[in-house]
Amino acid sequence: MTATAVATEHPAASDTTRGLVEITKVRKSFGATEVLKGITLTVEPGGVAVIVGPSGSGKSTLLRTINHLEKVDGGFIAIDGELVGYEVRGKRLHELREKDILKQRTEIGMVFQNFNLFPHLTALENVTEAPVVAPRSGKPRLTKAEARDRGLELLDRVGLKDRAGAYPRQLSGGQQQRVAIARALALDPKILLFDEPTSALDPELVNEVLDVIRELATSGTTLIIVTHEMGFARDVADTVVFMDQGQIVEQGAPHDIFTNPQEERTRSFFSKVIEPAFNI
């Protein structure tokens, strides 16, 4: 698959200067296993890309390379033209120091499959921790009082203002994931990464989380979502990317890729995961 510029038809993507993600020929191996075999993908500012595919296809690893939780073995990733994890000096790529990597990460929020909320901190403390201590480029750190106001505002946005004082273990899975989303939003990131945000949830709790993500999709933030919720993907994505065995097999607008997949591998995958009753 070659680089394909994804056309953004997003209504609210007026702010086109932030959140352009360019992934170029990214390779990554764990030991002898090559997990990413040269991935090239562009997500436009404010775009919503949904990555689907069988487990072990490298979706999560790709997501984790975008905020440098995994170092790439080859290729590069740029956000608004700035390389992730490296700095260009002359003809050399210098690996960034920890502090600068942290600065880059504050521009990229991440939501994990199993939430990873800090269990010893309340919902509000989870949300206010990073804005107070994380180093940020161009923006001052928030004071505790500012972070608190912002935190309550964000918890209100995910419908959990009244649970601000609760510890994660006192919340349902869906509520925990909504707190995790608020936490990721607290740094006002350009890009949000979702790594199977609903896979650890009971079916009846999935929608409360998807509704929050749907709302975010219209906010102008670039979203990259790994999910198995095909109905949701069709609703919210402007690009669906199908990955298998470390490669992008096919990508395109949701209607095209779900109703008229070009590749045999894509067709057989969708025939297994989309229930017969699901009409596209």
């Binding site: 905020n67 939780l69 920890e98 502090k99 942290l102 600065k103 990460r105 504050t106 990229i108 929020g109 991440m110 994990f112 199993n114 990873n116 909320l117 800090f118 269990p119 010893h120 901190l121 921790e129 990073a130 201590v133 994380a134 180093p135 940020r136 510890y167 994660p168 273990r169 006192q170 936490r183 990721a184 740094l187």
Partner: protein
């Protein structure tokens, strides 16, 4: 009889009521069904019973009572012998328990415990971080430290530190491999009994606490570090704010074991003739020949210290368990208060209904 049996079948559990229709038309089998299970009371009221006015009879545990009785007897026998056997010499114990020299010794014991405990755990924390670092040199230095200090008897370590002056006459601070010296001192003046004791206990404690702290850090889910890194939280803050508070739950029980061990472990510095609690009572009983009562004095003080530490342990563990349990368990004080509150309430209710 058959009509009673049918009614009994009705009043019995759910499955029996399914067969009620058949039972009415054909009393025979219904009698067989309901007969054995039906209550003897012919006045049992139909299936609408909600058992609200039934008295609850708790199940009985006769062997529990037998066990309790046996243990109570044993405890009573021990208590009786402690109280009545004159050879325990409780009068002597009471006389020396708060004697000035014993209290001085106690203060020295507490001082040694506090200083070597604190320094030991700080050094242990550094060693644990070294062991978990990416540098092979730091890892192996930390490993070797724990290996050496865990494999030598504490007694030998003590004597070695105290006799350091024999091995190295002078201790100096300068630039290695040159003749530059900023500072030089006789080893024997630097290593007093107290210094040798603190040094020996601290280094030994550090070797053990390093492993305890490392174990605690490893018990924290990797996802926590990932989430913190993804949020741009700086490394030091990740350790102190995210990982350590969660590691504390695993660290605390073992750490308190170590500190309580250390309280009694300080008694080993008697080999340096350092007048802590244990050495003090030895000096006294060598003079008065009241060996057992004076050992009892020391023992009782160790019991007191350990008890106080256990209370601290309970409340510190409780503090760090917030977030790990849905609701914190009540403290013994809260339980007692609730017990008296509810019992007062039931008493009042009982009185008002009468």
């Amino acid at each position: 009889m058959s009509s009673t049996a049918t009614r009994a079948a009705q009043s019995a559990a759910g499955p029996a009521s399914a067969g009620t229709d058949a039972g009415v038309s054909n009393p025979g089998p219904s009698a067989e069904q309901g007969g054995p299970r039906g209550p003897e009371n012919p006045q049992s009221r139909g299936p609408a019973t909600d058992y609200a006015d039934y008295r609850l009879v708790p199940s009985r545990h006769p062997w529990r009572w037998v066990g309790t009785a046996v243990v109570a007897l044993g405890v009573a026998a021990v208590a009786w012998s402690l109280a009545t056997n004159p050879r325990w010499e409780w009068g002597v114990v009471a006389q020396w328990f708060t004697a000035q020299s014993v209290v001085n010794g106690l203060v020295e014991t507490l001082k040694l415990t506090a200083i070597s405990g604190a320094l030991g755990f700080i050094l242990g924390f550094i060693l644990a971080l070294m062991r978990l670092s990416a540098s092979p040199l730091l890892v192996s230095v930390s490993w070797t430290f724990s290996w050496i200090f865990r494999s030598t008897p504490l007694l030998v370590q003590m004597l070695l530190w105290y006799n350091l002056g024999y091995l190295y006459e002078k201790i100096s601070l300068g630039i290695p491999f040159t003749d530059v010296r900023f500072f030089e001192v006789q080893t024997t003046t630097l290593i007093s009994q107290f210094a040798a004791a603190v040094l020996g206990l601290t280094l030994n404690q550090a070797a053990y606490s390093a492993e305890i702290i490392r174990g605690g850090i490893l018990s924290v889910d990797q996802g926590q570090l990932e989430a913190a890194a993804a949020l741009g939280i700086p490394a030091w803050r990740r350790s102190t704010r995210i990982v350590l508070p969660q590691a504390m739950r695993a660290i605390l029980p073992t750490a308190f074991n170590e500190i309580i061990g250390l309280v009694k472990g300080t008694s080993i510095v008697y080999v340096l003739a350092y007048s802590e609690l244990f050495y003090t009572v030895q000096v006294i009983y060598n003079r008065t020949q009241q060996v057992l009562p004076l050992l009892l004095v020391a023992t009782l003080w160790y019991v007191v210290i350990t008890s106080v530490l256990s209370v601290f342990q309970y409340y510190i563990e409780r503090h760090y368990s917030k977030g790990a349990v849905r609701t914190l368990p009540l403290t013994p004080l809260q339980k007692a208060r609730r017990f008296f509150a509810t019992h007062a309430a039931t008493d009042n209710r009982a009185r008002s209904t009468r």
